[in-house]
């Protein structure tokens, strides 16, 4: 019984905690620009994040080692340190984007000034992470993030041509007008892949497995949660693409802001739909902000051998606690300088894909090492084949991300 409850909660939290501000913005915009033609990239990314979360969770359950512990051990001090710095800069950037997103969303509800709301978001996040236990953070933000399912309903009521939606899952490139349009398509493909496979999700998932005290007996639980959670999460991403395609594409509008996405809900479900969508975005962004700041602290602590974990009282994991506090503060300060939140979101997605290969490689090597994992728990041929395939994909995406950012002038075409 306890296991079923845990499974259910795990799946729901994985689903609700899956969408963050970058994925929201890019998915809706991708639908507005290219209709359903990028849906296959969502599916591609979903299988990838499933495979790597499953591996990272399995290593954490079997060996009790989270991602950055492995990176230090396997890649050595120098390469590991560079990966750490890069990963935590990206974590900070993502956290900044989420806090910007929270401030924008709160503004939609209250009408108060943006910078004050960013400060309020900082206070809220610090208080919540300080007071709530890991399990309650997961539950509150995961479950209330399920308000994002409003977009699922909206996508349904927008009556898309389901045949065309299905056709979007077939990998391919549509016929476009010019070479710059093709480059833009490639840029969006990379961005969507990145937004589905965001590196912090793997760090957080593996560390979360240890926060929950998983052991080798939880390998099957891990598998089910990784698979079902990411798939359901991606259903939300698909719904967002559909909303973009149905609401904005006919008008040739390219949405950028969370509030624009929410119009898809008000259009179909009225005022309550709007409020549910806005609320869902708040909990999803706040959940992601917490996950990124905790990931930053997990990474640093695991690399340097500090005691870590929300399950420890803050006093006995003091440097870990200070790290997530400082991450929140820095992120909020960046937002309060008045940077354009839309650009922060965009860069957080592009930079994320750049570090993906360096996150996945050590996980793949360890999970496939029979001497470390044992015959029983090491990758089978299938997991290895899929893992190396995805390492190739994310490496390609990482190499293309920055050139595409430049030639498409930040995704403008």
């Amino acid at each position: 019984m306890k296991n079923i409850v845990e499974l259910f909660l795990g799946i729901l939290t994985a689903m609700g905690g899956f969408v963050e501000v970058g994925e929201l913005v890019f998915s809706v915009d991708a639908g507005a620009k290219f209709g359903f033609r990028l849906l296959w990239v969502v599916a591609l990314g979903t299988l990838g994040i499933t495979v790597f979360c499953e591996m990272a969770g399995r290593v954490a359950a079997v060996k009790g080692q989270p991602v950055f512990n492995l990176i230090r051990e396997r890649a050595g001090l120098n390469a590991g340190l560079v990966t750490l710095v890069a990963a935590n800069l990206v974590n900070l950037l993502t956290c900044t984007a989420e806090i910007g997103g929270i401030a924008l969303v709160w503004q939609l509800l209250s009408g108060w000034p943006y910078r004050w709301l960013a400060l309020g978001a900082l206070g809220f996040l610090l208080l919540v992470v300080w007071v709530l236990s890991f399990q309650w953070i997961e539950r509150v933000f995961g479950l209330l993030g399920l308000l994002m399912c409003t977009y699922l309903a909206a996508a349904y009521y927008l009556r898309p041509n389901w045949g065309e939606v299905a056709a979007g899952f077939v990998p391919g490139v549509p016929h476009l007008e010019s070479s710059s349009e093709y480059l833009l398509f490639a840029y969006f493909a990379v961005a969507i892949l990145s937004s589905v496979m965001l590196p912090y999700e793997t760090y957080f998932y593996a560390s979360g497995a240890m926060e929950d005290g998983w052991n080798p007996g939880d390998v099957n639980l891990n598998r089910v949660i990784a698979i079902v959670g990411s798939v359901l999460g991606s259903v939300l991403a698909v719904a967002l693409v559909v909303c973009g395609a149905q609401v904005f594409r006919p008008h040739q509008i390219e949405p950028q802001l969370p509030g624009e996405a929410a119009l898809a809900a008000s259009l179909t479900l009225g005022r309550w739909g709007l409020l549910a969508a806005v609320g869902g975005m708040f909990f999803a962004f706040a959940g992601a902000a917490i996950e990124t700041s905790l990931s930053g602290a997990y990474n640093l602590a695991q690399f340097l051998g500090w005691p870590w974990g929300k399950y420890r009282p803050a006093r006995t994991a003091a440097r870990f606690s200070l790290t997530w506090i400082i991450t929140f503060v820095l992120a909020a300060l960046i937002i309060m300088t008045g940077v354009d939140p839309v650009s922060v979101v965009e860069y957080s997605i592009v930079f994320s894909v750049v570090i993906l290969p360096f996150t996945y490689f050590p996980v793949l090597v360890i999970a496939g090492d029979r001497r470390v994992m044992g015959e029983e728990h090491a990758n089978g041929w299938f997991a290895n084949a899929v893992g190396w395939f995805y390492l190739g994909i994310v490496t390609l995406a990482a190499l293309l991300a920055v050139p595409l950012l430049i030639v498409t002038r930040g995704g403008k075409g």
Partner: protein
Amino acid sequence: MKDEFLDLVRQVLDHEVVDSNNLPCGMVDDLEVSGGPGGELRVTALLVGAGAWTRRLPSGFEGLAAFIFGRQQTRVPWSEVETVTERVKLRSRAEELGLGGADRKAAKILEKVPGSG
């Protein structure tokens, strides 16, 4: 230890160090070896702390890292090592070995906030 020999670089260096209560107390940031050319080399201690790992960085980065993380390091005699698995487990508690001091210092700041216990 089941194996006939211990691969220091693979199995010890850059692994997590835990004390007798399984509390993480740093990484094996460097190893101290005694003896000389022609004689027998022995591992005499684990070196734990920023002072040990910053020295291993390429020159140039060493100073920067030391500026951020400090130069503190603790010497843990090899005789304190109980087992070597994924983690290097010690026989004593962190405080007795002088490990985890930075965390206790940081804890002083957090103790003032309610709910830190």
